[in-house]
């Protein structure tokens, strides 16, 4: 799984390691969801995003509560629709704020791997088999919901802190960010180059992606 040979670039081993890490982390129990639930969340997000085989009816058959299915599907297929009242309604329907943060993380990180493969004309990789075990419950008790954000964070809600309510998810996002975009140290270098792309070209790709997604970031 995730054979570096297919990526044909000096960064291929890094990609393969990061993708394996994503798959392994999705399969393991998280802070609030079991491994089985996490893989089901990833599957719903993928179906919604790819608008591929699968339907809302098939999503109802995965044994997850409706608010979890709804959150996974919208975050996967149409994240620009997310608004505060919608998230509050999910919370009132029984989806905890931390559970919601974990769904954001799972769906977003599987999206990285899938988008990369699709953009290179490669087939999507089968989602992992879940591992058994109970959720860890490891959340950061300092997390609070800022009045302008939809979910709790430790400190002001920014991209680096967005998943900070669950330390393991925040660390997992940082890992894939370093591989796919750049490290914190690289960010300070306007002349940074990676795999033949200059920093300005990297930022052009980033800006165009965000523009198409109608996202400020």
């Amino acid at each position: 799984m995730f054979d570096p040979a297919v990526y044909a670039t000096p960064s291929a081993p890094e990609f393969a390691v990061s993708f394996r890490n994503v798959w392994a982390s999705v399969a393991r129990p998280g802070a609030t969801w079991t491994g089985e639930e996490r893989v089901a969340i990833a599957r719903i997000g993928r179906i919604a995003r790819e608008k591929a085989a699968g339907s809302p009816e098939s999503m109802l058959d995965v044994g997850l509560p409706p608010p979890v299915i709804q959150a996974s599907a919208v975050l996967g297929g149409d994240p620009g629709r997310v608004r505060l009242p919608w998230v509050k309604a999910l919370n009132e329907a029984g989806l905890s704020p931390e559970g919601y943060v974990e769904i954001v993380s799972i769906v977003s990180r599987v999206t990285v791997v899938d988008t990369f493969h699709r953009s290179l004309g490669l087939p999507l990789i089968e989602l992992p088999d879940p591992e058994s075990g109970d959720p860890s419950g490891e959340v950061d008790a300092r997390a609070r919901t800022n009045s302008r954000a939809f979910a709790p964070t430790v400190g002001p809600p920014m991209i680096p802190t967005a998943l900070s309510a669950i330390p393991a998810e925040m660390a997992a996002m940082a890992d894939i960010q370093d591989t796919m975009y750049m490290t914190g140290d690289d960010m300070a270098d306007p002349d940074f180059q990676r795999d033949g792309l200059h920093r300005t070209q990297i930022e052009l790709v980033a800006a165009r992606t965000s523009r198409i997604n109608e996202c400020f970031y």
Binding site: S119, F150, Q177, P190, G196, A206, I212, N213
Partner: protein
């Protein structure tokens, strides 16, 4: 970050091309990069053509890196949308030119 890195490295860039692909971003391979992003995100069905054009212009290694960056921003955008990371006043003030050129005035996160 684009305008900052372009300014710091003395490269000319037309930010308006980010929102209007008919314009030339003025960076090497810029048009091909802009086209490839749309295809990679499924916004059009020209992936093979866009991939080939970018590979011809910048090489397969750079094309793979472009795929990595657009995939990363699919993640960041989802996280920002999902958590509701707000665009602060300070951030808006710092990005006045980009906001205006990209037509982002109404985007809250």
């Amino acid at each position: 970050m684009l305008s900052w890195s372009a300014h710091k490295t003395d490269r000319e860039v037309d930010l308006a091309a980010i929102g209007k692909p008919s314009l030339d971003p003025l960076l090497e391979g810029g048009r091909a990069l802009v086209d490839y992003v749309a295809s990679g995100l499924g916004a059009d069905d020209h992936l093979l053509r866009s991939y080939a054009a970018l590979t011809d212009e910048l090489g397969s290694m750079a094309t793979t890196r472009a795929a990595a960056v657009l995939a990363a921003f699919e993640m960041f955008n989802r996280v920002a949308d999902g958590i509701g990371v707000p665009v602060t006043r300070a951030r808006r003030e710092k990005s006045v030119r980009a906001i205006s050129e990209l037509g982002l005035e109404d985007i809250a996160h």
